[in-house]
Symmetry: C2
Subunit: 259 residues, 2 copies
DNA sequence: CGTCTGGTTGATACGACTCAAATTTGGTGG
DNA sequence: CCACCAAATTTGAGTCGTATCAACCAGACG
């Protein structure tokens, strides 16, 4: 099987920073906006796969912006159980105003090797004071990530294993596609079955069996960290996937600050 | 059994508006701050119990502030399943910036009869431009509600029925206590077992049996819409409840704008 | 009073978990 | 380039938590 996804993803990385690309899903940014954004994302940090970026209990210091790679937020229970509560994909911001809080209530870990920009509160404030268009876009991001968290609550509470995993796959695919990292049903997919288990509240064994069922039903191929969704419409149907919560339909999408 | 809770709750309502009370959990507000807040909460709407305030698909128009009563956000699946994704208690704001979005991805319903203030985007903007202290407090609220949503994800994903319900009871109790609507382990508790089921992803039957188990173990009394937590420490233990996510420990709690 | 909503009980079924072992994959160093 | 090891995936058998379905009961209300 050819793997065009990889090439596409790499090309894209070179072509355009994920941050601007993501925010432009909400609104067009002017050249000035983009350079303001670029200025603020100078402090780049690289984190190895499976390392923590932030630990529960830490004092929040930076707003992070994912430039490349996948990460997750997770919480741990005293009995050792772990729940991944969200995934970070390229272009995602973590917690616009976290630094208001005293200490983190969750950890942030890298799934793959990641590149993140660490933005200081000061930089953040000056960005939000001088660039209203970016500010709006950041708020939009914030609202969308809250909506995603609500959808996960629904996912865990009401969907069975089959629907649940289908839903997660569709969400990740659509989010990747929105930042140019997926096409034609294909994308990189670095999650292990254990990651999927921790995100869906299932066991790895059951995730395994459920993925097999999705394959058997001709909905997906998943192999060597490559996901291929064979029939997106049908998979969305199975997952009862309503894309409204991703709010990709904003009119700002069609505004152009340069016009 | 005497029911002092009711009296306490009523007294409190008269004594102090829930909004200021809630925000002051984060920071002290000056007299000016409070009057700015009061000005903006003039447009009060009353909603009957079990009626919807906002429906999925609606265009967001107002930021709502709960003055009195309980409400919830919920999402519905095409197969009819319903998930309550959060509860609104007196003093809670719904979605600071919702009006940025095109359409609501969930509904908001009243559990009891509710009084809510409907704040316009303009009012909201001017508040946030002129009252930095309130703005900070609003952001804090926003971050806390996001943290609560993450904790619910953990709750649904990793805790069993017994722990799950225990956790929810503790959360609601602590949140009520933080706005002066609970004391000595007691509070009003207007949720039906069906509400609890829809919030915890369990069936009403199983919620019933689980509540009985909590009663049998001497952890709670729950009768006629009155909750009495008999042993908060033990209940928190059972629930593996870590209060850090409520961020009640903010230093702002001890700041005083009037000093 | 009858009706309705919410709460309770019992019997049975099934989705997902557990534990344990086998197999495959990917990375590493000789 | 192959041998090795650890990590990830796969398989099987047995169990358990929670759902389902169907009654029945109690208090609130008109």
């Amino acid at each position: 099987m050819a793997q065009p996804t990889v090439d596409v993803a790499l090309q894209r990385t070179e072509r355009e920073p994920a941050a601007a690309s993501k925010l432009e899903a909400f609104t067009r940014l002017s050249a000035d906006d983009k350079s303001a954004l670029a200025q603020v994302t100078g402090n780049v940090r690289t984190v190895d796969a499976r390392r923590d970026l932030v630990s529960e209990g830490d004092e929040p210091r930076f707003v992070h912006l994912v430039l490349d790679g996948w990460g997750c937020r997770y919480k741990t229970l005293p009995d050792g159980k772990r729940q991944i509560v969200s995934f970070f994909l390229p272009g995602d911001f973590c917690d616009l105003n976290v630094y208001i809080l005293q200490s983190m209530d969750h950890s942030v870990g890298a799934i793959t090797r990641m590149k993140v920009a660490a933005i200081t509160p000061d930089e953040m404030n000056s960005l939000m004071n001088s660039r209203p268009r970016i500010t709006q876009a950041l708020w939009w991001e914030d609202l969308v990530s809250a909506a995603v968290q609500r959808e996960w609550t629904l996912n865990l509470g009401q969907r069975d294993a089959y629907e649940r995993i289908a839903h997660l796959l569709v969400e990740l695919y659509l989010r990747l596609r929105a930042v140019g990292r997926a096409q034609h049903g294909r994308c990189d997919f670095p999650l292990t079955q254990n990651d999927l288990a921790e995100a869906t509240g299932l066991t790895a064994v059951h995730v395994n069996r459920t993925l097999q069922e999705l394959r058997r039903n001709g909905l997906i191929e998943l192999d060597r960290k490559q996901l291929h969704i064979l029939d997106l419409d049908r998979l969305m149907d199975v997952a009862m996937f309503n894309p409204n919560y991703l709010h990709l339909d904003h009119e700002g999408r069609h505004l152009d600050a340069n016009a």
